[in-house]
Symmetry: C2
Subunit: 328 residues, 2 copies
């Protein structure tokens, strides 16, 4: 099966995002390098607009809507950051948005999503129970009723190509890399980044990192077909997906060298490291890739390694307790 | 009285720091602008090496030592960030260092300072009681005994010129500014930045910001002479100075348009804002300038305003509790 996106698609997305998305900094840290035994280049997508890489894919998708699609607007379902990304992109492109979100999403993410829709009577957040209801079915029903275009959180070529611009920028800045570590929920980020990275540098080793409790992609790759798991119990709420997408799985299968996992305790240790040593707030999901490097889950000794810090949207009270070492 | 430093000194410092100090990013935030009613450009010195702007001044001073001075090494006294800065600069320039630190300095700062001296038998941290002993006297005594050169935390032309490079870089990146807000402890940062800013753009309004409980500089400016206060009770530990220096006071008197103050509660609110909206860990002292903008302590409506986030070195447990809204 041919890949659903190419380096050319990622480059075109970069053109659409120029001057709209932040070109986030690439930071380095001697202490991080000592921890990992490698030279790490952190792409700080926690400093991206709305606090996560998701803005890239959402804007790249919405910017390609026809005039008619723009009038009816966009609908999506998301556990958080994609919701905010679509709401912000819709606001910037002046179109209605409906966001289907789990009722137990972090309060900060719900509030931020609604803030981007403020002042638009044609836009709203629809809540659902993620342990009982099917968000995709709800999304498809509302889309049909209102004539809106559904942009799913990861399994869409325009979304995947948009996310890949993070790797494009990272490699432009850091130069040649031996490996690239990327967190994996549904696989939109890792698939876009893998296509960009391999397109620029065919020998690079791209690794995906999941929470140990939610290794649906690791299992899918091992089995050679998409495996669906129960909603995983992990603090990495952006990676609580139950299965990769059809398109993202195909890219992962062909382009990702290995799927790694880390524990929630390792994510908390990484969050504390980023706050203390690098002065960065990184959400649990955003720590997946870095935690794999810090815990040396794969041998990267002496290598030049790109690490994507995917986002920083975390409930402040929970986050503060993690930093203070108090019970969650 | 002529100014002790010039724009030319700041430019020379920038040359010494090139490729050694980080060129820290200048970040913007729509939410921050709404809060302040102005367009803010944040110079992120919390992302500087060792977590604060202090590295600039320390390195600029040590890089100008003679060969003989280098052999004997450097001594300093500091409530925290200058200590780490001197220890790191001494490590990079391969010279002995003795740091006189208050016994109640944040544990993270003590540990970090010692880490930079690791492996050097000729380097050490000397603790003192800041409520009973005179750190300057201790520093002078050890300097005399060991033939070391004393580099004080702020009242030194090379230190002041080094700190000014933060404003130089900020204005190169942000372009023309109407105002610049800078935190004030002993006045090293604000005096260097004021000289740089006014040199580049004579009409700019430079404001210094102190904790309300420790407004020694505000009082000194009002009185027209240096006023000495008791050790102030504030969470802004980097601004617990009792008086400005002779050199820094002269620059402040001539170049700073106004001295402002904010409360500890306003610093906590700013810390929470930076973590939540901008994903940055900023220490209490580092929030002084931003808090003045957020609280609209001076009228900056519609202006383009540079704001220096001076550092991010904060004890993680206390910081986590502040974020979680728990008792300190």
């Amino acid at each position: 099966m041919p890949l659903p996106i190419s380096l050319q698609d990622v480059r075109a997305a970069a053109g659409r995002l120029a001057g709209v998305a932040h070109r986030t900094p690439v930071l380095t840290s001697r202490r991080a390098d000592e921890r990992a035994g490698a030279q790490l280049f952190f792409k700080c997508e926690n400093l991206q607009r709305m606090g996560a890489f998701k803005f890239r894919g959402a804007y790249n998708a919405l910017a390609q809507f026809t005039a008619e699609q723009r009038r009816a607007g966009v609908i999506t379902f998301s556990s958080g950051n994609h919701a905010q990304a679509i709401a912000l992109a819709a606001q910037l492109l002046d179109m209605p948005s409906v966001i289907v979100m789990p009722a137990d999403a972090p309060p900060a993410k719900l509030a931020a999503t609604r803030a981007y829709q403020a002042g638009r009577a044609d836009s709203e957040v629809v809540l659902y129970d993620r342990y009982r209801e099917d968000r995709e079915a709800i999304g498809r029903r509302v889309a049909a009723e209102r004539g809106m275009t559904l942009i799913p959180p990861f399994d869409h070529p325009h979304v995947m190509a948009g996310q890949g611009t993070a790797a494009l920028e990272l490699m432009e800045e850091a130069g040649s890399l031996d490996a690239l570590l990327v967190c994996v929920g549904g696989g939109g980020l890792v698939s876009g980044c893998a296509v960009a990275a391999l397109g620029l540098q065919p020998g690079i080793a791209v690794y995906g990192v999941e929470p140990a409790a939610g290794n649906d992609v690791q299992r899918s790759v091992a089995r050679g077909e998409i495996v669906r798991i129960d909603v995983p119990d992990t603090i990495a709420d952006g990676a609580q997906t139950q299965a990769p997408g059809k398109l993202t799985f195909e890219v992962i299968r062909q382009c990702v060298r290995g799927m790694l996992t880390v524990s929630d305790a390792q994510l908390v240790a990484a969050m504390r490291f980023f706050a203390e040593a690098m002065k960065l707030v990184v959400e649990p999901t955003g720590c997946l890739a870095a935690a794999a490097a810090f815990e040396r889950v794969v041998d990267l000794r002496g290598q030049r390694v790109g690490v994507i810090l995917s986002g920083g949207n975390v409930d402040l009270v929970r986050y503060g307790r993690w930093l203070a070492g108090e019970p969650d």
